[in-house]
Structure formats: structure tokens, C-alpha cells
Symmetry: D2
Subunit: 421 residues, 4 copies
């Protein structure tokens, strides 16, 4: 264990290139499924190392295989897509990109969820692993996943024969930067990220001129009643000791001022830690939407389209115990307990495909003085930007150092020399 700490603390490779690489990714974000440039930059960097490349796999997916003799196999995954969010950080490497969104209109694009940092850190870990082959044995898989934000990338890689195209790992890892003191590594056993699904609902109606409501069956009114009544599920139907989130991501009805439209579109986003609750809530959503359509006197049926499924991330207890012990050694008081978080990820689809245990953790990224001030004033919720906000920006240095070292620590917990002697 001392070996890992020593190795990490005297970096036999310079990671000075990480800042430039990160800022370049940040300034040139790409939406899910369109990560062509980013994939190219990752491949260019990997070309500096002694590794085998599997690419493309599942769209713009990449796996770099670092072989180093006999020993276990460990996989680390980073994601690299961005979001349709307007950046307002004001930094000189801020994104000003506009790209066609899912409906064809131009939308701003931003790395508002830190995937640029995840990728930069995993490439840093690759550099260290590549340059220190005497410190470890076995096989290290660096997996770069596209299209995490729409929850399709992990499955796309699995569908593209991931399991047969790379060596089977013994363990998988992943991490996410989130609000928290920059440089803190937060871990827990059991549920870490929630399960989620998105649901696209089309509410039918009958169109008419805006002046003739009686000739219409107004789908916007029905949709509004549905939005209102959905909150009754969490407030009235779910056991208050259970956890459930039902949010509306999109509500669209009509395209002009004076026509009552013929339908309305709702897109919901739901979160759970428990599949019984999940099923109960989905039943309730359907029951409510169908009944509200009936209340409006609509003969047609509403439609429900489930997508964007995120598996529960449920950390393996013994993997946690092994890695946490090393995190404590390496990070000292910066190794802390995590809280369960309500967000979701498709990471778990990868270890699930291999049938192996995994650990997924969180690295704090909030600028340290900002975090300390917010904690002191009791204004964490108000003052700290969270993922997906236009103001979300990690403090580079402590965050990249912690996330690079955390990746190495976890991998070396299994591949480090002390384990094979």
C-alpha cells in the first residue's frame, strides 16, 4: 500500500499536459452521439502510449489495453460527451458552440457535467501506468465511453461486442466529479447513484382555433393537469420513507398563438433506489395520464415511450473495502464517506455485461475557497454550482490531481506489485 502512495506521490511522469488537454476539450464540447473530434483527440493522446486500441466500438467508443504480464485485469471507464447547456462561467476557454439539438434547432453546447475532467484524468492514469510498468502486473483497460448523457453509450459498447473484444476484467471502476471540496474523494458501499428512466408521453387532443375552445379538446390543459397531479405521486402515494423523483424535463404544446394544438408532449425523468417503488410509480404515472385524458373527454389513448434507462449503481462491498483502505492511505483526510446521490449513470451496464463487481465514486470539484465559504455561511445549496448548470466548473488543479490519483489507486489496488508478490 505504501507503494501506491509512494508511486503516486513522486509521479515519475509529468502530467503538465493535462491542463491544456482539458481546456481544449472544455472549449470544444460535443453532444451525445456526435463526439467525433473528442474521440480523435483521445486516440491521438493514446497513440503516445504502448497500448492496443479497440475502436470504434459502440459509436465513438474506445478501449485502450495496457498489457503487462501475468496478473489480474482491471477496467476504468471515463465518459466524454457534453450537454445542450449555455456556458456562463466566463473563463477564457468557455464554450461558445451551437450545434443542432435533437429537434434540429441550434442549441448551445457545454461540458457542464465534467466529462472533460473524467477523460483527462483517465488519460493521466494511462500515462502513469504506461510509464511505470515495473510497479504493476496484469492488464489495465482504459475505457472511454461516448453518449453517457442520453444513457445509450455503455449499452452501445456492450452491443458492439465489448465482452469478446477486450480481456475480461476482474473488477471495474468509474468516477464522477460533483459539488464538494475540490480534491475530496467520496466513497460508499451499496447504492451510490439512482436508477432512472425517461418517459416521453404524447397527450392527444382536438385542435381548434384559439377562439373556439368548445370545438377543441385542449391537450395543453390536460398536460397541465398531468404535471400538477404527478407531484401527488411522490407526496401521496410513495412511502415517505422511500425515495422517488418524478421530474418533467420537457413540456411542449402548440407552435403558434391562436391555435389550440392537437397534442402535447411531456418528457418525464424518474429516479429510484428500489425497483418495487419504481414499478409502483410507473403504474401511477400511467394511471394518472390515462385518467386525465379521460377527464378531458379524449377518446384517443395517450402514448408512453420509455428511454434513457440508467441502472442503479450499487457498489460491491468487498471492492469498496479494499479500495477505500487505499484511498484513506493516499488521500488522508480527503478520503471521506459519500452520500447517496439522486443522479444516474449508465456505467453499471459495463460491469454488468462482464458479470463482475465494481466501485464508482465521487470526486469533489468545487473551488475550495468557494466551498468553504458556502459551508461557513450555510449557503451550499444557493452558492455552489451543480452539474448541468451553465456555471459548473471544477477547480482544475486539486480536481485533476485527485481524480487521476484515485483512478490509479483503485487500479493499483488490484494490479499493484504488492498484490502479486
Amino acid at each position: 500500500m505504501r507503494d501506491i502512495a509512494r508511486l503516486l506521490n513522486d509521479h515519475r511522469v509529468g502530467l503538465g499536459w493535462q491542463r491544456a488537454f482539458y481546456e481544449d476539450l472544455h472549449q470544444h464540447p460535443e453532444l451525445s452521439g456526435h463526439e467525433q473530434e473528442t474521440a480523435r483527440k483521445i486516440l491521438d493522446k493514446l497513440a503516445e502510449f504502448n497500448c492496443e486500441i479497440i475502436s470504434p466500438i459502440g459509436g465513438f467508443g474506445i478501449v485502450a489495453i495496457f498489457r503487462n504480464g501475468e496478473g489480474p485485469t482491471a477496467l476504468f471507464r471515463a465518459d466524454f460527451d457534453a450537454l445542450p447547456v449555455q456556458e456562463t462561467t466566463g473563463v477564457d476557454f468557455a464554450s461558445t458552440r451551437l450545434r443542432p439539438g435533437t429537434d434540429g434547432t441550434l442549441v448551445p453546447v457545454m461540458h457542464a457535467c465534467g466529462h472533460d475532467m473524467h477523460t483527462t484524468s483517465l488519460l493521466g492514469a494511462c500515462a502513469v501506468m504506461d510509464a511505470n510498468r515495473d510497479s504493476w502486473n496484469g492488464t489495465f483497460l482504459a475505457l472511454f465511453q461516448p453518449a453517457e448523457e442520453n444513457a445509450t453509450g455503455a449499452n452501445a459498447m456492450v452491443s458492439d461486442s465489448l465482452v469478446t473484444r477486450v480481456p475480461r476484467p476482474d473488477v471495474c471502476f468509474g468516477q464522477h466529479i460533483m459539488p464538494g471540496r475540490a480534491g475530496q474523494v467520496q466513497t460508499l458501499a451499496g447504492p451510490q447513484f439512482a436508477a432512472c428512466d425517461s418517459i416521453r408521453i404524447i397527450i392527444p387532443g382536438r385542435s381548434a382555433h384559439g377562439s373556439m375552445p368548445h370545438a377543441s379538446i385542449d391537450p395543453t390543459y390536460t398536460a397541465a393537469m398531468v404535471v400538477v397531479r404527478l407531484q401527488g405521486i411522490v407526496g401521496r402515494e410513495v412511502d415517505p420513507n422511500d425515495f422517488a423523483v418524478v421530474s418533467v424535463g420537457t413540456l411542449r404544446a402548440g407552435s403558434t398563438n391562436n391555435i389550440i394544438p392537437h397534442s402535447a408532449e411531456l418528457v418525464l425523468n424518474c429516479r429510484f433506489y428500489d425497483s418495487t417503488v419504481q414499478e409502483q410509480v410507473y403504474d401511477s404515472i400511467k394511471r394518472i395520464v390515462i385518467a386525465e385524458c379521460q377527464a378531458s373527454g379524449i377518446d384517443q389513448e395517450p402514448t408512453f415511450d420509455f428511454f434513457g434507462h440508467g441502472e442503479l449503481i450499487d457498489n460491491d462491498t468487498s471492492t469498496y473495502a479494499a479500495v477505500r483502505s487505499n484511498f484513506d492511505s493516499v488521500f488522508g483526510e480527503n478520503s471521506v464517506d459519500a452520500q447517496r446521490t439522486t443522479v444516474s449513470e449508465d456505467f453499471a451496464n459495463i460491469p454488468r455485461a462482464f458479470g463482475v463487481p465494481y466501485l464508482y465514486w465521487v470526486v469533489g470539484c468545487t473551488p475550495q475557497h468557494q466551498w468553504d465559504r458556502a459551508v461557513a455561511s450555510g449557503r451550499v445549496r444557493e452558492d455552489v454550482p451543480v452539474n448541468h448548470m451553465g456555471t459548473f466548473l471544477p477547480e482544475f488543479e486539486p480536481t485533476v490531481e485527485a481524480s487521476t490519483k484515485a483512478a490509479l489507486t483503485a487500479v493499483l489496488t488490484y494490479l499493484g506489485s504488492q498484490n502479486v508478490t
Copy 2:
């Protein structure tokens, strides 16, 4: 009077071209403000007549001045823009056009409000007036107005010096095809079409990831509460003996599945026959939107942008009496009493600019067998397509004949020879 009936009944011009002209317009509709092709077609037709052209005026607006010696001046207005509606009539001249809508995305376009018929009829009236100069005296103004659907065209023509660029009329006319037995001409004195305004409301919120509703102030939820509560204005606040319509034309919030958006947009469409009720309702709308934002805990203020104003169309009593008498002669039992209708128009801005009286009427356009069957079965509301529906299509022959003759009858009521002897 008999002169008008006789003139009209033995058409000294063939109007056979009207069908081809109408079908061409119908198949090639253009959205408000983009009527370039349509204006060109109108100008090409007008070039066949002996008239002076004022164009462009107020965008693609056109006035044709037919001078025929001393006498009064009468203006007839037709509009020629189309709507973002998907045509489903199934006729072989149906529109299949897609054009960029107000938000940039492609939308289907259709003459779903009969402006193609209005224009064809007025050109027919021009042809008859041009070919029968011995039957009338004075000046006939044929005004072709763009951009009626967004209620900007009439004012744009007025702003572009309409009043000084054409002779001042003594009276103005306009007509609209609507559901009703094809060929019936419906008139009344007093309010015919309602006053209206559209209101664009931006409801502020605070964006957050869909999994963290507590970090957001959800504007979609606020907007839904507003949509629901707006119906309480008509149901609870307006005297049930008064008339008011508050419809939601557009509700848009969010553009993806897992982000609670930072604002929601509502576009309302309101109708009245009485300005006191109108002011009361606008006060209530503002009060409700502001209070619902407060109920959600939003510090920012919602914004209100009024547009698309439609003046009340309030027919002059003596103009009505004079023209109705001739309608009765010309159309016999097809000249009937109109009902007040809830729709709005910007027509009245034109006579208002000149300070002259006007008459605006309705021509039935529903295929006669369809109308008769619907009346017989008590299913008019269910079975008869109304304006702005994708199935709205006038029965060509009786409709074009009635609307061409009605225009001529009204104009000749003032310019016909019998009036100058």
C-alpha cells in the same frame, strides 16, 4: 338594385380561371410575412386589368385602383397568407409544403383559413368590375393584405402610408369563409368578430438536474399551475352573462429529458366583445401569473408581451342595411342572418385608419351535402371541419361564386349606376 342582380347573373366575363388560380394558391401556401410567391401571382393577374397598382405596401401588400370617372370610392380587402397546419384533405392540390416556423424548425404550411378563396374571389370581382365599366362609376379599390394570421398585415399597410397612397374610400368591405352551407352569405349589424390579443408570458425558474428538484425552482410546474388557474378567470371571475375566452396557444418548457429548465414560455390568446371585461381579464391574468411565481418561490418577475391585437369588428348599421337589402335580392334565401363569432381579424384597422364605416360578413363554405347531413344528424360540431383544421376545405363552386358576387354586390351598392343617376 335589379341592375346588380342582373349584372351578376349574366356575368359578362368568364371566371373559369378562378379554379386553377385557387388551386395553385392552395397548393403553394406561404406563412405570414413570407408571401412573396403569392403576391407575385396576384400582381400577374392584376396586370390583365386596367388598373393602377400600389405595391409593395406594408410588406407584400398590394392595392389595385380601378378608376371609372366621378363617383364614390369603395374598398374591398382580401388577405392571402397561410398557416402552419398539416393539410389532411387528401385532395390532389393539397399542400405538402414545409417551411421554417417562427422558431426555425420546419413546419407544414396550409391554406387552412381560406385566404386563397378570399383572394381568388376579390380577383374575380376585379375582373367583373374591369370588364363592366359601363355598369358603375367612381373608384374601386381592391386591397390585398398579407400577414393577417399574425395580425400585423393591416397595420403594416397603414404604417406604410396607405391613407395617403390611395384615394380615401367612402366605405370598406371584407369577408371570410367559414363553416356553413356553401354559398350562404351571412350578415349582421354590430359586433361580428371579437377583439383579441395574444400574450407571451415568460415564467422564470431555476434550472437543475432532473434528479435534484430541490435545487430547482421548476418553471414547468409553475406554468402548469398557471394554465390550470387561468380557467378560473372565465369560470369564477367573469360575469357569466359576459363573453370572454382565454386559450393557451403555446406552452414550451425544456428541451431535453433530464434537465429541469430555467424558464417556461406561455402564449395566450384572448377574446372579448367588451373592453371592460377585457381589462378585467388582463388584470386577472397578470395577478395570477405573478402570484403563481411567488407561490413557487421565484424572486424574478415573469414578463408579459402583448401582441397580435385584433380590433373588434363592429359593423356599421346603415352600411349593413344598404348592403343586406341587395344581398337579399341577389342571394334570395341564401342571404341569412349571421351569428357573432369568437374569432378575430385585423381588417377593422383599415377602415379605422380612414375613419370610414365598414361591413364585414361571412360566407358559408362547407360542402352542401356534408352540411345538410350534419345538421340533420345534430352533429355539426363533430362532423364539420372548421377553419385552422387540416381538413378545412371549401366546396369550390358555390363558395367562389357567392364570395365573388357578394364582393361585387357590396361594392356596386355604392358604385353601381343606379346610385349615380
Copy 3:
């Protein structure tokens, strides 16, 4: 005609007792169905006259038959029950009564709808008719009806053989005091008061402790959704040119703080001038309540109990013409046109039982200086107390004089000597 005016203007009887009688009724109001004392006072007064009494009829109902030789028969009806309203007029004859309400709890009682005035005026008319038998011929029926407020009294009298127990009238009359300049008599032909029904709705649920909403199906939440959605009927489903009122009179759910109740009770009150609209709205109410119960996941059916039916009051045109002419003679500029009003009455059940025409009118009762000031300042709605308010109090003198004389004028229009010569 001059005879009627002369007769009324030189009152050959003193009506000075009317004030004391009125104030006694006002101070001792009785709820519908419990009008024992009031009936006794009416009978005591009638005992002073030469008339035949039919009583009890339909509960505490009374008909006084004044026979005066050959001639037509005219019926005038006054009602005499009061309301569960807390009086706040501050007059020294204000009611301080508490009586058990429909649910057994004590409620304040008040003549907040002017039935004390109606009764006092009809007794005044009886006095004049009785004392001036040389001025008229025929039969005068003075009908005193209980239980108007719950819309049961008229039908109860009919069911109790009214038609066979009194002579068949040729015409029926009734009147109501309402806001308006005290002493003005307001009449119209056609619909005067709306049709109405009340509907008691029981919304089923499942009870649970307040801390366990997930074990309940919360009927209060369902009822709230219903109350909200009912306003969508008037705002979205009824033609805005039609008239409909859907009000909630009572909503009761639960009786303690920490138990989610097992059901909720709604009592609606609905008004119409048109039976097609009425049926459409009742269908919509049922559809909405049933669907909202389904949206809440309730298996049990809600129940609907219609009661308190009020017939449309639709004045006969020729009766109107005959009486209005005399009203104009007697009242001069105080005989004015009435507006349709949204309230309802069970009066029409009486002429309907006999199959005879009727006229029902309104007498203004607002203190004259209050009315004039409110009109001048445009604050009629804000400043003038309306029926059923705790501040509703007629200005005695002009109101009792106008309503007594109006009753006599109408009756004498048919029975006055000029009609039999």
C-alpha cells in the same frame, strides 16, 4: 288603467302596520322547512281579512282566497323562509338567531334574501284588495310559500293537491327584491331567472393516519382536483357565447387533524338558460369526477345526487305586455327594463302545475343614496350588498311601497273593474 293608478295613489287603507310586521319577521327568521312561527304570523294577519284559508298545504304553505263575484282569477305568490347567514346589518331588529343547520350544528339564521319583504308586501296587497272590493271583480289568490331556498316548497304545495284545492288561476305573479335603486320595478319578457340544480357528490377514498399517505387514497386531494378541473368546463367546454355557472357551495372532507378521511363531499350549484348546455355540462361534471377518482386509483364509484332543481323563469310575452303597460302608468320612470339574472327560483312550478302564463319581476331595494353613490363612482359591484350577504337590507319605505303596489297593479291588470265593464 287610470283606475289602478288612482286606487293605488289614494290608498283607502292605511298600511302603517307593514313596518312592524316586516321588522318582526326580519328579527325572527326561520330556516326552510321550519317556518312554523312565520306561518302563524301570516295566518294571524290574514284572519283580519274576509278570505278563505287553505292551510297547511305543502308543509307550512298557505293560500288565502279572496272571492269577489264573477270574473277572472289571479294568483300572487310570496315566499317566507330565511337562510343560514350571519346578519351584520347592525340594525336594531337584526336577527341574532342560531338554529340547527342541515348537519345538526347551530348556524346563524337571517332573512338575507328579502322573503320578509315579499310576505309583507303580499299581505299589504291583501289588505288593499280586501278593503276595496268595489274596485275589482273575480278571485284573488294570495299564495304564501315556505321552503323556497331549498327549492322544495313550490313542489311540496303542488304535491299537496294545490291544483284541486284552490280555484284555477288565469295568470300567476311573483316578484323578488334585489340590488337596484329602491322602488324601481324591473320587468322583461322571456328568461328572467336561470334554471338550476344542485348536485351532491361523494368522492370515495381510503382512510389512513395522516402520517401514512401511502396507505390512504386521499379523497381531499381528489376533491381538490375536481374543484379545480370543474372550472375547465365553463372555460374550455361551453361555447363562450352560451351561459353556464358551476359553483361549489360546500366542500367537506375530514373531521380531525391527523386522519386522512375516507371520503369527501362536494355540493355543486349549476345555472343555465338552455337545456342543451345544461345536459352537456352535467355530462362533463360526471366525466370529470369519475376520471379524477380513477386518477387517484379509487376502485369505488363516486355518487351523484341531484336536488334543489329550479325551473327556468321564462316570462310570458303577452302577460308582460299587459302588466308592463300598467307598471309604466303607475311607476313612471321607476318602471324599467330588467336584466336576465343568474339566480333561480321555484316559483315557475306553480303556474306550470296549473298550465297558465306568468310574469315574475324584480323590485330594486338598495337604499337610494347608496345606489346613486355606487353608480356615480362605478363601484356597484363592490359597494352594494347583494342577496344572501349578511349586509343585505332593503330600504324599507320605497321598497315596501313599490312591491305592494306592483303586486296590486299586476293583479288589477286582470281583476280591475275596467276589465269587466
Copy 4:
């Protein structure tokens, strides 16, 4: 320890009277604050024992002091009021009582929360303690508390000088029967029952006749919007990882069919395990109610009256450890871990007044075959009656035995001979 188990297992007193006593209480329930008969029965039973009585204290409260030489002092509390619930158990000792409720109307009364069982068990424990004085030393306080259901009884006893009128205990105990296999004793350290408050809210409006909604400001509509929007607090504003309950216990508006009332009354019931969440939710409730009143255009302010406060029951860790160990010995596999429950109690006010640690636990009471069947079929929620339902009835024998023994075990953990040798 073995002593306690032995003592309990060979009961040197017969407790055969418990069934009759329990059925008598069950058949004659009394509402909070009206427990006169019940208090009399308890005093009659206590008169059989050698103890000092402090009564009345805090209304019908009673403390029995059993002194037995030197040693520690332990207090056990049982509550004895009943609820306004209609019993539907069908047993021959079912309650058929009707009593005036808080609003004066007659309501059914039932021991639907098991306080009859609590009282019977504590009296049983008194009997054993009294008859076995050689097995323990010190002072045993049996506290019988009225008015738990309205959360006033414990504070009333404290206010009535409880602390100075009885010896200061070293530890306090209480228990509650709830759904669970009859005879199971469920314990945990830390939060057991939630904190709660009730809030009475008066929503002002303006009354008018039901036919004139425009003359009213309808408080029922406002109240309905509030009920709907309150669910948005839990669903949208509270962190989904936190716990909060906002239920509506009572909603009352109007008392007749055709008058829109002048105000509406809401009674909320709220639950929390965390005071920060509690404050946030109370702020949100006030914000929403005030804003919804503004949305309705009401000038008057709504009022808020907090009552029925329940303290969090937060079991002391070392008391838990000491007693749980003995529960495990006495009850074997029937001593199990408890779940946090959402209900509330005023028990904690008693130990809090003395400043001493406490333990409060749950005893399962569901008939064993019913429980086992429900668990097997996964229908616990559907098939098992919970507290406050009309069907709630403990299985007598296992429940009374477990709750009597549990009380004795806890008390003897501190007073048992083994502790003083």
C-alpha cells in the same frame, strides 16, 4: 437477567382479569379530554394495589407510585383516550358510541389506536410489580396519560407540576401497538416516531350567491389550489433523500348548496425527522397559501394556527442497549429490530420534562395468521388494518402478554434485584 425471564414466565399473579378489563375499555371509548369513565376504571383497578395515587393531574391524568425501598426510579407511561372513528370490527365488544366532536356534531368513537391495550398492559405490569416486591427494589411510577391523540395530554400533566409531584425517574418507558405479528417486540436506537405539527389555516374569500361567482372571491377554489399545490412541496422542494409528510386532515368550506362561502378551513398534519426540513416546509406552506390567496385576488390575509405538536421520539442509545438485551432474553425470536415510523406521539414531553433518557418501542398486534398470510401473499399494505382504521383490532392474547411483559422487562432492567445486589 435470567431472573426477569423466570419471573415473567411463572407469573406469580393471575392476569385473567385483563381480558374483561380491556373489552370494557374497548366498548366504552372516550374522546381526548373527556376520559372521565376511563380514568375512574383505572383508579378502581389501582385501588387493588399498594400504591400512592397522584390524581387528577393534567385533566384526567393519573400517576401510581409503587415504592419498594432504596433503588432507582423507573417510569412507564400508557395513554387511554380514543378516536372519532366508526368501529367496523364486528366483535361483540365493539363500540357503538356517538359523542359530540370538536364541532359539536355527533361522531362515532372507537379505540382505534390501541390505547385500551396500552392501559390494560400497564395495569397488568402494576399487578405483577405489586405482587412480587421481593423481586425488585426502588420506585416504580405507572403514569396513565389522557389526551394523547390531540397531543395535549403529556404537556398538560407536565404543566400540572408532574415534575414536583412525583419522584424523579432515572429512566422513562412507553410502548405502542402497531401492525406486525402479534407478540413481536420491535426496538431501535435513535428516531422511532417522527416530529409533527398540525396547522389550521383559514383562507379568506368573499361570499356571494352561487349563481354570481363574479361577485365572490371563491375560497373553496383557493383552498383546492392550495391542497393541490401543497403536494409540490414534497415532490419538488424537499430533497428526495429527506423525509417529509404534508397531509390534509380536514377541508371545510361552505354549509349549503347555493352560497359561495366567505372562507375555507384547512387542517394540515406534517411530519419530519429533521428540524431543518421542518422549517423549510413550514416556510413553503405559508408562502404557497399566501400566494394562492393573492392569485385569487383576496386582500385579507390567511391565518395560520399551529397546534398538536409532537416531539420527535429519539431513543437513547444506552437505554436501548440495556433493555434490548433483556428483550432478546425474554422474547427470543420475537424481539426484533423496529423500523422508523412516520407517526407521532407526545410521550417524549414527559422524559424531556425530567431531563432523563427514554426508550419507546412498538409491539406487533396483527392476528398472527392474518399477518403471516399477508406477508406470504405480499399484501401487507392491502390486507392488514392499521391504527386509526375502523377495522383495527389487536389479537388479544399474544399482544397483551407481550406488552405486559415488555413493560415489566424494561422496568426490571433497572429495578430488578440483580441490579441492586
